[in-house]
């Protein structure tokens, strides 16, 4: 089986494309009637879904894998553990699952990229959902020690109250594009024309 497309995507850091590439390849190989499951990179496939936050597809993929393969590939089980923690919304547990396994080099690249992305997503969630949060909880959500977490958020503009061990969130003002381009005038003309007739 030719996995060069998958390997290229991994090498070029196009992690968001992994799930689509693997899906398409799996359908193609299955249609040819070739028994593929023993050699299939399920762990990478699963992590590809997790990377794009499609836990549903990751779950369905896990369900479709035969039990014998699950038993013989501990890395696959470890990859699913991450998905499981995401599914049950055990935000801190995700980091434990990431760190709790000695990943093979190829998988490690993907896991590391996901870990970074996940931390970023968690930070954005905290920023939008909390006005104040304890250092302890923030550390859990960000998967860092309390000291590292404090430094991380201070760099992003938050303030800390050491006595109460509380962090105050500062939201960055996101400027959204509001300029219109002339093409919209053409569209408006079309709408009025349509309404008149």
């Amino acid at each position: 089986m030719d996995f060069s497309v998958v390997n290229e995507a991994l090498a070029s850091n196009s992690f968001d494309k992994i799930s689509d590439i693997c899906d398409a390849l799996m359908l193609q190989v299955a249609a040819e009637g070739v028994p593929f499951r023993d050699d299939w990179p399920f762990a990478i496939h699963l992590l590809g879904h997790i990377y794009v936050d499609d836990v549903n597809s990751a779950r369905f993929l896990w369900k479709s894998i035969p039990a014998t393969i699950k038993e013989s590939q501990p890395e696959l089980v470890a990859a699913w553990k991450i998905g499981q923690k995401l599914w049950t919304r055990d935000y801190a547990g995700v980091y434990e699952a990431i760190r709790g396994f000695d990943w093979t080099p190829q998988t490690q690249v993907l896991v590391a990229a996901f870990s970074e992305l996940y931390t970023k997503r968690m930070f954005e969630l905290l920023q939008s959902a909390y006005s104040t949060i304890s250092i302890q909880d923030a550390a859990q959500f960000l998967g860092m020690s309390e000291e590292d977490a404090t430094n991380y958020v201070l760099r992003k503009g938050w303030t800390v109250d050491p006595t109460s061990r509380m962090l105050t969130v500062t939201k960055q003002a996101i400027v959204k594009e509001q300029k219109l381009d002339p093409g919209k005038l053409q569209r408006l003309t079309e709408y009025v024309f349509h309404l008149e007739h």
Binding site: S19, D23, M26, L27, Q28, A30, A31, E32, G33, D54, N56, S57, F60, L61, K63, S64, R89, L125, S128, A129, Y130, S131, T132, I133, S134, D137, S164, M166, K176, E177, Q178, K179, L180, K184, R187, E190, Y191, H194
Partner: protein, 421 residues
């Protein structure tokens, strides 16, 4: 047989040749079926990418009879290769045969317990058979069934996103929307699921069918999950049979919906526990559980209508959660999913509910509104075309002529019953 093979090889070049070939094949069809066991070796003499029509006739005759498991394996491969290499224009001349072959392909793939094998070929088959992406073929529900059985939900979504305007057979639409609803539920796209299931329960039907009944059960549950309520009556355009009968046929679900509307989680959970077996035998227990947990969300959302700020402890009490921490996690999840606008203040243990910050001024929002307007304009144009066609339909005119009001002397002229053009 050999003569027929030579003719196929000779007449597959131009479009007009293929049409004459089609006549020959139609005449030979019965003898092909009679000799079905002798046909497989002849398939090797034909090239599916050039002699698609002839190959199709032979293939259809070969696969017409009962097939053993050993034969299934080789047929599945042959049919998959045929589907990928055949010429669309040729197979569209014999759509019924193509559909039969593809349906048998699905049966054999299921016999081998390998639904995944059939997904890609069935998708290719749909693309070759359909006249446009707005055309629903008999193969669409087969494709969705294979996706459901092989758990390829994401692949199915690409087909479900296409708008359908033309349907060959009503049964195809029922099954397509029902399976489509199940796939959307699996991917947690409840708005899409509701749309599809709505189509099944409101579709014209002279008598209520089993697909509509099962769809209605899921429709009630998805309605509770997505909207937090279930409308007691179907819209007026649903068939009278559906309006009268569906609720009585889905009694446990209707009662679940009314229990839900009372807002008390404990009562709802008790009802579910008491009727667990019924829900389980319908394969709906998972969905029922999702409906129950959506009630916490619903109750929290209701709080935003009354309060500006509320303590986490208060939320936990009102919504019947076990602790302020649980309430915090629920609110956090709702903020993440965009179901609520709020900020949590851990220092004071309070939640402040906010207004929707959307100002509808950004370019992104304008693009969204734009594309919605474009879609509406397309639908509007299509409706105009359909309206015009229907205004010329003799059956419609006859009925309208009989039923219209007569005010004027001229109105007493009869509407012509038949047009001789």
């Amino acid at each position: 047989m050999e003569g027929l093979v030579t003719q196929i090889q000779g007449l597959s070049g131009t479009a007009s040749d293929v049409l004459s070939l089609q006549n020959l094949l139609k005449q030979a069809d019965d003898s092909l079926h009679a000799e079905s066991t002798r046909l497989p070796p002849f398939l090797d003499q034909l090239d599916p990418s050039k002699h698609s029509l002839g190959y199709l006739y032979f293939l259809e005759a070969c696969t017409a009879g009962p097939v053993t498991r050993e034969q299934a394996s080789s047929f599945v491969l042959t049919i998959a290769r045929f589907i990928s290499s055949c010429v669309a224009e040729q197979i569209r001349l014999a759509p019924d045969k193509f559909i039969s072959v593809c349906k048998r392909f699905k049966d054999q793939v299921l016999l081998l317990e390998e639904p995944l094998r059939g997904v890609a070929p069935m998708l290719t088959a749909i693309r070759k058979l359909q006249l446009s992406s707005e055309h629903l073929t008999a193969l669409h529900p087969e494709f969705l069934l294979l996706c459901l059985l092989s758990k390829c939900y994401k692949t199915a979504l690409s087909i479900l996103e296409e708008d359908i305007f033309e349907v060959d057979q009503p049964r195809d639409l029922f099954l397509y929307c029902y399976y489509g609803g199940m796939i959307s539920i699996g991917q947690k796209q409840f708005r899409k699921a509701l749309e599809l299931l709505h189509n099944v329960v409101t579709a014209p039907m002279s008598t209520v069918n089993a697909i509509a009944v099962e769809a209605f059960k899921k429709y009630i549950l998805v309605s509770l999950i997505h909207h937090g309520q279930f409308p007691t009556n179907l819209p007026k355009y649903a068939s009278s049979g559906a309006q009268r009968n569906l609720k009585t046929l889905c009694q446990p679900y209707v009662e679940l919906a009314s229990s839900y509307s009372n807002g008390k989680i404990a009562d709802l959970e008790m009802y579910v526990e008491a009727n667990k077996d019924k829900f389980e035998s319908d394969n709906n227990l998972g969905l029922v559980k999702q409906a129950v947990s959506s009630m916490y969300k619903r109750n929290i959302q209701r709080l935003t209508q009354t309060y500006l700020t509320l303590s986490l402890q208060d939320i936990a009490n009102r919504v019947q959660l076990n602790s302020p921490k649980e309430a915090e996690m629920h609110v956090l999840q709702m903020i993440k999913d965009g179901e609520i606008y709020a900020t949590i203040n851990q220092k004071d243990g309070m939640v402040r509910f906010l207004e929707d910050p959307e100002q509808y001024k950004t370019c992104e929002m304008i693009e969204r509104i734009d594309s919605s307007i474009q879609r509406l304009m397309t639908v509007s144009k299509k409706l105009n075309v359909m309206d015009e066609l229907m205004s010329c339909d003799p059956l419609y005119l006859a009925k309208a002529g009989r039923e219209r009001q007569r005010f004027d002397f001229d109105d007493f002229d009869n509407v012509p019953q038949r047009y001789n053009i």
